[in-house]
Amino acid sequence: MENFFVFAGVAILALMIPIIYRILVGPTAIDRIVAVNVIGTKTTVLLIVIGMLYERVGMFVDFALTYALLNFVGSLAAAKFFDRVNPAKSFSTMKAEEPQE
């Protein structure tokens, strides 16, 4: 059974690769933020899997609870960022500047 948990953990880690790819490529900032959010959910699961491996789930479940409760605060802040950004420097103009670097 322990081998299965190791396998599950490694599989979840391997499934992070496409998301890190999206973070690297992601054409817009919101794409990246979405990917970050997804990694947060995966971290929550992975922490419990690590807890199963160490057989101390009661301890690791606290971290997972912290992530479950607080992970969306960052995303909310990022979403609010777009409500309040200076119109002159808005998102579409930023994207137009990007290829000139």
Partner: protein, 112 residues
């Protein structure tokens, strides 16, 4: 033994849904559709995996284990309410920034 099998089955189902989300986040063409793959395929697979793990924990039913399973249920509940919220906030931000939606090629030509 049966519990082990059920646990392995549920966790594997969760992993398969994770694969769906991960492939979708690469292949889908625009921001909105990627949001579909990213935001919520994860919630479902997370619930499946957590259910499997908590079944495995209940293997030996003691009070402490029941409380741990209660905490895991709370995690699932919290993610079920926070994840849609952040998805909604992000897609609203993108929508109001005016990110263009992807359309099929033929429809686009038809409109023009």
């Amino acid at each position: 033994m049966i519990i082990n099998t059920i646990c392995i089955f549920l966790v594997s189902c969760g992993l398969i849904f994770f694969i769906g989300g991960a492939v979708g986040i690469i292949r889908f063409p625009d921001f909105y559709t990627r949001m579909h793959a990213a935001g919520k395929g994860d919630t479902c697979s997370m619930i499946l995996i957590l259910t499997g793990l908590s079944l495995y924990i209940l293997h030996e039913p003691t009070t402490a284990n029941f409380l741990v399973v209660g905490k895991i249920l709370f995690i699932a509940l919290f993610i079920m309410s926070t994840s849609p919220t952040s998805t909604h906030a992000l897609i609203k931000a993108g929508f109001e920034e005016g990110i263009k939606m992807w359309k099929r090629e033929d429809e686009k030509e038809g409109q023009e």
